[in-house]
Symmetry: C2
Subunit: 192 residues, 2 copies
């Protein structure tokens, strides 16, 4: 078969399908960003593994357990956490295909509760929302998010609210999504 | 079938078998302790899910993905983390069946590297070791542990070292393993 110049590359799609379906490119960007932060010794922030309920396991070899039945569980916490400049960091990241608003149903209520709880104990807690079609990413602190939820009855946050109140995250190559820059400005008053 | 008073409850065993085989009772104690800390609003500390490499997934129902082939991965970080009194908390917990020493091979080198890295960035980083047969649990800060490793050629830490230099953790009912008490004394100088 002739590889026409416009042919889609099937291998990149194949790699994507092996991981979670949700928020793929945002997840990749954050993983690369966190890897960069660790390599530069700026922060230690990791993605938590996706929780899996294992039902049955085979032992074809003594050395290697093979899970033959398991189910994804709803995470009780957020996806990312770690430490930066002496502070605990905790956040959730959400891709959003819509252009005009971000549906609040994308964030589980127990994740909101978790973010409020860690913030109360001194962590820097936030949500990163990417408007995929616009290629714009925003950081919203949990206090801001709860403020919106408590003062509005609507079930989604309009795009205009993000561009006015949330913190736009610069995207680039190294790192792809420099969210610590937002924290430097908002939580550490720009001091280095 | 008559339920004799001495009959063992099969359901509790069934629950145990669904989770990791390693360090079961210490893990249970820590999970209960962390649950207690959260319920009392003292700290937010969770066990991270065991990382699993998913190879294939079936979709018998649209709503429920069924993992049909997966393997346990070596964790790149530690098992527990969270936030307490404004500080990031990060630790690994290890059961030990031996009475006279704790083999250092039980802690992966990348876990030691991770604990040193988070401590450098301001987290309180430590290892909890339980001598199962003696029912004694100890907390060792990463600096202490690295100090031992760097000044000794032996591949295990003698029990006597623990009883002299490590911090014994009180065991009880609520919570089963009050390790925050050690942090209150060692990291917060007893101030409340």
């Amino acid at each position: 078969m002739i590889g026409y110049p416009t042919k889609k590359n099937p291998s990149s799609k194949a790699i994507k399908q092996t991981t979670s379906k949700r928020g793929m490119s945002l997840e990749e960007d954050l993983n690369m960003t966190n890897q960069y932060y660790r390599a530069m010794d700026r922060a230690v922030i990791h993605k938590k593994p996706t929780p899996v309920q294992v039902v049955s396991v085979d032992y074809p070899m003594r050395s290697k357990a093979r899970i033959t039945e398991a189910y994804y569980r709803t995470p009780s916490t957020t996806d990312y956490n770690g430490v930066y400049r002496g502070r605990a960091i905790d956040f959730e990241a959400k891709d959003n295909q819509l252009k005009s608003n971000f549906p609040l149903s994308k964030i589980h209520s127990h994740q909101l509760a978790h973010l409020q709880q860690v913030a109360k104990h001194g962590a820097i807690a936030f949500v990163i929302v990417r408007f995929t079609t616009l290629d714009e990413s925003y950081l919203i602190f949990i206090d801001q998010l709860m403020g919106f939820i408590q003062s509005h009855t609507r079930k989604s946050i309009p795009y205009a609210w993000f561009s006015e109140f949330a913190h736009r995250i610069d995207s680039g190559y190294t790192p792809p999504l420099d969210y610590l820059k937002v924290l430097d400005i908002c939580c550490f008053k720009g001091e280095m």
